[in-house]
Structure formats: structure tokens, C-alpha cells
């Protein structure tokens, strides 16, 4: 099946598709990164590498690397265990409030870590709703936060893919005598594998390069490679050590990607199903139980912390009050850096929209390229597209300063660098969401279109794009989320005219005083509302255009 590929997809189309992400990465990723590496290891024009063996012999570094790997693996397994059954329910059943539930499950993804820490304290901390001693345990908090953040990644990507699988297939298995669980294990699961692996890969790499969660919720006794890079680069200004650890990070990511591509080799192709056809209402007690379980889990895991946060912003001295919201509109100290809430919300929204478009463009081209070239080239290029997600923001930020400093690329203090930096992290989500869908499309479908005279672009536009629209929406949504929740500390975004909601949150958290804390909670609540509004818009754009898919 694969051999016929090259004759079908015109090389010109593929070259263009491949050039977009490769040029983007070359300019905004590889150039800054190589710049900082060269600067770190060279001293008086010679390379200094003598310190490397000693560095790795240190027990501390070894234990940091080991912790980084196992906590990421454990977080991924936990996330998968909770999200997979829920994804099944979301893809198969129609029930009241489903879209709202999906939105609630995704909002955690955008929250800055300081806000998540506050939300957890409000739920289970010493003065929280249900004070639980386990909320004092840093490792518990790390794992909980990773599940809290990534739950929706598995949920959205897997349930989208599941909705492509025709009902008749599992029904046929059932009629042939296979039990429900057996059908799921032997028929549905193998077909789902690509999206499960893809979402797990994202979750693993996300937790692998975890920074804020470890530093803020884990406290000083836990450190990942990312945290250590930040410490070495920012606090100790030890660039060789920071760069060396960044290289370790990159190599480990490549190893993980290699494992992923090996697992990923066999994909099953089938005629994709339209979304509405695959939905039914839960009827049997078992189905109802599963649906209720999903609703309950999302309620406890996602809704409670978000609600606790919002409640904090509306309560002053034990009474309902809008004190904190009103305070947001007053620039009490007349500060130049005062952030008007509406302006911040609009800025956040537009930066995120810009990121969304850039990430969709770059990510879609990358996915088309990987899907079109298959084999060895794809195997080499695919891992490269995942690297930005796991590369230390501190290292890359320093790299940008020393390389992008000459016109026309003097972007060091341009607002344009904000969506660019966000796109680097966001587009891998688009690639991973779209690729499984793209791979399910049977060759003969495209072949028949081509035979009837459609150009490569037309085949993509009228055959592939409608089919992957659903998956693309999921990817675009994550791109939007990545950007809207990003503080942007890697670059110079702090010009008051470009202030965003997360920056307002950090500003309020930065100074003592009860009013500041309340206002931070209020801005966090606004951030959640803007995110939810963004979801509704993005999903409606798709349903207006989806034509049944």
C-alpha cells in the first residue's frame, strides 16, 4: 500500500509542504539553539569539553535525569488510565452537557502553574474546602498536576480518532460472538493505537520537560532536567552546564521518538466515519454507568479546582462580592505597567489566534510532509518536529538573544516573537493530532480522485481536509491553549501595550496584600472565561464548515 504513495502525491506539493515547517524551524529553532551551544562550549575560539565526564559522574545530575524520566512515564500512564475510558464514552455516546464537559476538561491546560497551585490549595490545602493531608505531599501534587493538565490531551485526541471508526466494525465482531470487552481489546484498540501513542507521546514529552509544576508544586526537593537547566542558566549563569543538559534533553527526546516510530509502523486504513453517525445515547446499565463515571471524574478532577478558584475571586470576607473585579479597573498607584483587564483579554486572545494560525499552517504542512514521504525520510524528520516541545525555554530564549539580533531578524524585542515562540511549542500538537487521521485515509479514495483529474492540492483540499477537519480542530484548540496560558518569560513581552492575562496574574501574585491575591484569582477566572469563549468559536468554525464530518 505504501509503495503506491509516491506516484500519487506529486513531489512539488510535498516539497512545498515540507519547506514550510523546515524553514520555520531552521530560523527560529536551530539557528538560535546552535548559537547558544557554540557560545557555551567555546572559549577563546576553542571548544572546551573537558568538564563533561565529571559533570555526568555527579550523583545529583544522574538522579535528576532518572527522576525526569520516571515521573514523566508515571504521569503518562496515570493520565492514560483515567482519560482512555472517558475518551471512549465521549466518542460513542451523546448525552446532555457533553460539550460543556469537554470544555471544562480542557481549561486546565491553559492555566499558569501558580494558578493551579492556588486552585489545589483552595480544594485540598490547609484552609481548603476538603483539607486532605495528601495535598501536602509534593510528589502527589506533581502527579496530580500532570494529570490535571494533560487529561484533555488524551481525551480529545483519542476520542476524535475513535469517532472516525465505523460502528459496523465493532458490531460485526460482536455478532461473530466476541464479548464487549473483547471487541474493544481485539478490534477497537488496535485501530486506536496511532492516536493513543500520539497523545501519550505528547503527554510524556510535556511531563518530561515539566518546569513550573516541579518548581512550584514539587518544591525544592524535586528537580527535572528542565528545572536544572533553568537553575544553571539563570541563577548560576553556567552556560556550558545548561547547554549540555539541553543536549541530553534533546537526545532523550529523540530516543523516545525512535521508540514511538517503531510502535507506529503499522497503521490500519479504513473508510473514516462521519461524526454524527457514530453517536448514540447510553441505554444499557453498563453504558449509563460508564457515562456517569466519566461525568463524575471530570467533575472532581477538573471542575472542582476551577470552581474553587472562581469562588475565591467572588468571595470577600465570607460574602459574595465583586470587590476584586472592580479593583481590576482601577489603576490605584497610577503605574505605567497597569494592565487594563479588557485590553489584556483582547491581547491574549489575538496573540493566541495568531499562534493558532501559524501552528495550523506549520503543523498541517509538517503532517502532510510526514504522511507523504513515509519510510526513512519521515522517520528522520518526524522526531525533529517534536524537539521544540521538549527543549528548554531558558536555553532557547538565551539563544534568541544572541542570534536574532540583526535586521531583518532583529526580533529580540519585537511583539512578533511572541506568537513565533508559542508556535514552536504549539505546532507539534497539531502534527500529532492530524497525523493519525491523515493516515487512516485509504489510498484508493485519493487515487480515484486523482484518476478523475484532481491535482495534488485538490485531492488534499477536497478529500483529505474534510476528513481531517475534526482532528485539525483538536490540534488547533491545543495551539490556542498553549498560547493563551503562556507567560512568555522567554522573550521580552513586558511592554505594557502588549500585556496579556497571564502577565496580569503574575503581576498581582508578585506583591503582598489581600487585594492582590483576590485580583490574581479574578484575572484567572477571566482567563478561563476567555478560553471557553475561544473554544466555542473554534468549534463553531468547524461545525459550520464540517459538512457532516
Amino acid at each position: 500500500m505504501d509503495s503506491g504513495r509516491s506516484s500519487l502525491t506529486s513531489p512539488g506539493f510535498l516539497v512545498v509542504a515540507g519547506l514550510v515547517p523546515l524553514v520555520f524551524l531552521a530560523v527560529f529553532y536551530f539557528y538560535p539553539l546552535s548559537g547558544i551551544f557554540v557560545k557555551s562550549f567555546s572559549h577563546d575560539r576553542t571548544f572546551q569539553l573537558g568538564f563533561i565526564p565529571e559533570f555526568f559522574a555527579s550523583a545529583r545530575i544522574a538522579s535528576i535525569i532518572w527522576f525526569t524520566i520516571w515521573q514523566a512515564a508515571l504521569s503518562t500512564v496515570l493520565t492514560l488510565a483515567l482519560a482512555l475510558p472517558c475518551a471512549h464514552v465521549m466518542a460513542r455516546y451523546e448525552f446532555f452537557g457533553k460539550r460543556l464537559l469537554m470544555t471544562v476538561a480542557t481549561i486546565p491546560f491553559v492555566l499558569p502553574t501558580v494558578v493551579v497551585a492556588a486552585a489545589f490549595r483552595a480544594v485540598g490545602g490547609a484552609n481548603g474546602f476538603v483539607p486532605l493531608p495528601v495535598f501536602e505531599h509534593p510528589l502527589f501534587l506533581i502527579l496530580l498536576a500532570h494529570v490535571f493538565y494533560n487529561f484533555s490531551v488524551v481525551l480529545r485526541i483519542v476520542s476524535t480518532h475513535l469517532s472516525y471508526i465505523r460502528h459496523e466494525i465493532s458490531e460485526a465482531a460482536y455478532m461473530l460472538g466476541a464479548s464487549g470487552p473483547k471487541t474493544f481489546l481485539r478490534v477497537t484498540l488496535p485501530m486506536l493505537k496511532p492516536s493513543i501513542f500520539a497523545s501519550c507521546l505528547l503527554v510524556f514529552i510535556f511531563c518530561f520537560s515539566s518546569f513550573g509544576v516541579i518548581l512550584i508544586l514539587g518544591g525544592p526537593r524535586y528537580s527535572t532536567i528542565e528545572v536544572e537547566i533553568f537553575r544553571q542558566a539563570v541563577h548560576m549563569f553556567n552556560l556550558p552546564a545548561a547547554s549540555l543538559l539541553s543536549i541530553v534533553q534533546i537526545l532523550l527526546t529523540l530516543a523516545v521518538m525512535y521508540g514511538y516510530t517503531v510502535f507506529q509502523k503499522k497503521t490500519i486504513r479504513y473508510a473514516p466515519e462521519s461524526e454524527s453517525l457514530s453517536l448514540k445515547r447510553p441505554r444499557t446499565p453498563g453504558e449509563r454507568l460508564m457515562t456517569t463515571g466519566t461525568v463524575l471524574l471530570i467533575f472532581v478532577l477538573c471542575f472542582l479546582p476551577l470552581a474553587a478558584l472562581a469562588a475565591r475571586s467572588f468571595v470577600f470576607k465570607g460574602e459574595l462580592s465583586l470587590v476584586f473585579y472592580r479593583a481590576l479597573f482601577e489603576n490605584v498607584s497610577g503605574s505605567l505597567f497597569y494592565i487594563p483587564p479588557v485590553k489584556a483579554a483582547l491581547n491574549s486572545f489575538f496573540f493566541s489566534l495568531a499562534t493558532l494560525f501559524m501552528a495550523v499552517l506549520v503543523g498541517l504542512c509538517a503532517a502532510i510532509f510526514i504522511n507523504g514521504t513515509r519510510g526513512r525520510t519521515a522517520g528522520l524528520i518526524d522526531p525533529v518536529f517534536m524537539l521544540p516541545l521538549s527543549t528548554s525555554a531558558a536555553t532557547l530564549g538565551f539563544g534568541i538573544i544572541i542570534t536574532l539580533d540583526t535586521p531583518p531578524l532583529d526580533l529580540r524585542s519585537s511583539p512578533f516573537i511572541v506568537p513565533v515562540a508559542h508556535t514552536l511549542v504549539a505546532f507539534p500538537f497539531v502534527v500529532r493530532a492530524v497525523l493519525p487521521a491523515l493516515r487512516t485515509i485509504p489510498e484508493n479514495l485519493k487515487a480515484s480522485a486523482a484518476l478523475m483529474g484532481a491535482s495534488a492540492f485538490k485531492v488534499f483540499r477536497y478529500v483529505e481536509l474534510p476528513v481531517i477537519a475534526r482532528a485539525l480542530t483538536a490540534g488547533a484548540l491545543f495551539a490556542f491553549c498553549i498560547s493563551i496560558g503562556e507567560f512568555g518569560a522567554t522573550v521580552f513581552t513586558a511592554r505594557p501595550e502588549y500585556a496579556t492575562l497571564p502577565m496580569a496574574i503574575y503581576r498581582f501574585f508578585g506583591q503582598p496584600g489581600a487585594l492582590n491575591y483576590g485580583q490574581a484569582m479574578a484575572v484567572s477566572t477571566i482567563l478561563m472565561a476567555v478560553t471557553a469563549a475561544g473554544f466555542i468559536i473554534i468549534e463553531n468554525v468547524r461545525s459550520v464548515s464540517g459538512e457532516g464530518f
Partner: protein
């Protein structure tokens, strides 16, 4: 599908036209005002100033001031160093005395003998070459929850030594000196107070007495401190001016601050912040004007309520809330910035061994 494309195009145009008009507007205003020069100030995230104060400078010198916030104090300085001879700005605001050596060794600032230095306390002038000029200062020390101690009928500690007494077990939250600037300041206080290796004995005892360690100030103050909403620990390492901020940022008018500070007998560390002119600046004259302005009474009197630190210019008047509620230690811990630079990494490593093992 047509509609889909329409949507895509509409939103795309909206986003990009939004971005473009913004830039064009900037260009337009620049042209109208006949090439107003721009002066850039690189600083850390905690920097703040009144809009009014800055516009007096802008009008007086017919210049536009742009601030680039570049991370915390250490990160901002590192970025300035990395940018090297292609500086991102003309002036830097906010190198503190724990990073002073790094900034001077890298030699990225040019000397400037501002006439206003005569109004600055000599104790604050740490750089004799005047490449970095003192602009503000404040003390890092222990803050305590007054109500908590009243309710429990326990006296708050009077000095650092008392912190290891059993009655203060589990009552103090500190920040990790490896990742937090007040955390580092407090570690330096103990080094100055107990010497080497005495400070390590103190920390080992403190660790046995249940000291709580967080990564940063936000987690200690908001997450652990009982006076600030969510925590249950009544003592935290913060600033001697934090009580003034508690009063200033409260909805109902407080007569008394909810928190007290421990500043006696060398139990506070003085953080001095400096400003300097980048060697590679294209506007040396304006940059000097900017530094003079930072040292002027107008700017200095704006400092307390913007950044909650004290003005370096002794002629600057303090606001009422500062006079009443912000403290300064009479005898802060003494430790030269050269000694700090030489030993910082070693002390942090030893501290990590003793406390976080």
C-alpha cells in the same frame, strides 16, 4: 467547505490587520512628532513606575521611554550580558548587590559620575567606578502573623537564634536560595550572623525544627504564610516593607498592619539595587539624563508605593503608609559583595546538603 475558507480568511485578515495597524500607528506617531528618539530601559519583572512620572521625563527631554522587562533580576542581567555589544537597551535598572560582581566583571556598563550621587547615602555606593549607581534598597527579613501569635499566646522570636527553640517548631517558611532572591538574601544573613561554618549548624538545627522550604517567594508567602490567605505557617521570609504593602493593598482601611517584622541584631539583609548605562548605547547623553532622572526626587519619591523598597536619595520624602508600616533594620547583616560573589555557589551547595538532603 467554502464557508470554512471564508472564516479562515476573515479571521486571518482581522488578526494581521490588527497587528499591522498597531505597528503603523507607532510609525505614524513617530513621524508626526518629528523623529522622537527612543530610550530603552532593560529591567526585571518587579520594576514599576507611575505613568505620570515617566511622562514628565519624556516631555522634558522630548524622548520616548520604553521598558523591557526581561525576567527576574538574575535572568534580566544574564540577558543583558549575552546581548553583549549589541545591547537591547540603553540603560539597565535593577542589578542587586548579590549580582553586582557578575555585572562589573562582564564590563558591560560605562562609568557615569552623576551630580545627584551627592544626595545618596555613602553606604549604598558599592561600585567606586560609578558604572553602577545605587537607586533603591530594602531589607529582607522574617515577617510574622501578628494575630496568630496573639491567639496562641506565644511571643514572636526576637532574633535569629531563637528560631531553633522548640516553641517555634514548624512555624517558619523560607525560600530555596538556589532559586529565589529573598531566599538567597536570608541565607546570606545567616552567613553574616553566624559565620562559617556556624551558619550550617544553625541551618541543621532549623531543619530539625521543621523549617518549610519552597522554591520561590510566591509559594512561601501565598502558599504557606497564615497572614496571607491560604497557609498555616505564621512566619515567612519576605521584605521589611511587606507590612506596608499589606496595608496599602487592602480593601478596608487597616489601622495596623497584619504582619510584623524581625529586624534586630543583624537578622535582616540589605538588598541594594543599581542602575547603569550600557557601553554600547547610541544615546549616551539621553542615557545620562535617564540615570539622573532615576536619582531625582521625582522618581525617587515614586519608588516606595510602586516597588515597595526605599529610595536611595535621602532627600526623597516617604509616603505616609511607608513611614508608619515599612521597616528598616538599624544594623543589617554585613557581607561585602565581593565575598558574596566568591562564595555564593559554595554556600548554596552547602545549604542544599544541610537542609534538602
Amino acid at each position: 467547505m467554502k464557508k470554512w475558507v471564508c472564516w479562515f480568511v476573515i479571521v486571518l485578515t482581522a488578526v494581521f490587520s490588527g497587528a499591522c495597524t498597531d505597528q503603523e500607528e507607532n510609525r505614524d506617531t513617530a513621524q508626526k512628532e518629528g523623529k522622537t528618539p527612543e530610550i530603552r530601559v532593560m529591567t526585571h519583572d518587579s520594576f514599576s513606575v507611575s505613568g505620570k512620572v515617566i511622562s514628565t521625563f519624556e516631555k522634558e527631554h522630548n524622548v520616548k521611554v520604553t521598558f523591557l522587562k526581561s525576567g527576574d533580576a538574575g535572568e534580566a542581567l544574564n540577558k543583558a550580558i549575552l546581548a553583549g555589544d549589541k545591547p537591547l537597551a540603553d540603560v539597565f535598572y535593577g542589578v542587586d548587590n548579590t549580582f553586582l560582581s557578575r555585572a562589573l566583571e562582564q564590563d558591560i556598563f560605562r562609568p557615569y559620575d552623576s551630580p545627584l550621587l551627592s544626595s545618596v547615602e555613602d553606604d549604598l555606593k558599592l561600585d567606586s567606578s560609578n558604572r553602577l549607581l545605587p537607586v533603591d534598597y530594602g531589607d529582607v527579613c522574617i515577617n510574622y502573623d501578628i494575630r496568630w501569635f496573639n491567639e496562641k499566646g506565644i511571643e514572636p522570636p526576637e532574633n535569629l537564634k531563637e528560631l531553633i527553640l522548640p516553641r517555634y517548631k514548624g512555624l517558619l517558611a523560607v525560600e530555596n536560595p538556589a532559586t529565589s532572591s529573598p531566599g538567597l538574601a536570608f541565607l546570606l544573613t545567616t552567613v553574616a550572623r553566624f559565620g562559617e561554618p556556624g551558619y550550617l549548624d544553625f541551618w541543621e538545627n532549623l531543619e530539625k525544627n521543621g523549617v518549610v522550604v519552597t522554591s520561590g517567594w510566591e509559594q512561601a508567602y501565598w502558599g504557606k504564610f497564615s497572614a496571607a490567605s491560604e497557609g498555616n505557617v505564621p512566619m515567612v521570609v519576605s521584605y521589611a516593607s511587606s507590612p506596608a504593602a499589606e496595608v496599602h493593598f487592602s480593601e478596608e482601611k487597616l489601622e495596623r498592619a497584619p504582619t510584623g517584622v524581625l529586624t534586630a541584631e543583624g537578622s535582616a539583609f540589605r538588598q541594594v539595587e543599581f542602575a547603569g548605562i550600557f557601553k554600547g548605547t547610541e544615546h549616551p547623553k539621553l542615557a545620562e539624563n535617564m540615570i539622573d532622572f532615576f536619582l531625582s526626587k521625582t522618581f525617587q519619591e515614586d519608588i516606595p508605593l510602586q516597588m515597595f523598597v526605599f529610595p536611595a536619595n535621602r532627600e526623597a520624602q516617604l509616603p505616609e503608609v511607608f513611614k508608619k508600616h515599612a521597616a528598616l533594620s538599624r544594623a543589617p547583616a554585613e557581607l561585602s559583595f565581593e565575598k558574596i560573589a566568591e562564595n555564593r555557589d559554595k554556600w548554596i551547595a552547602e545549604w542544599t546538603q544541610a537542609v534538602l538532603h
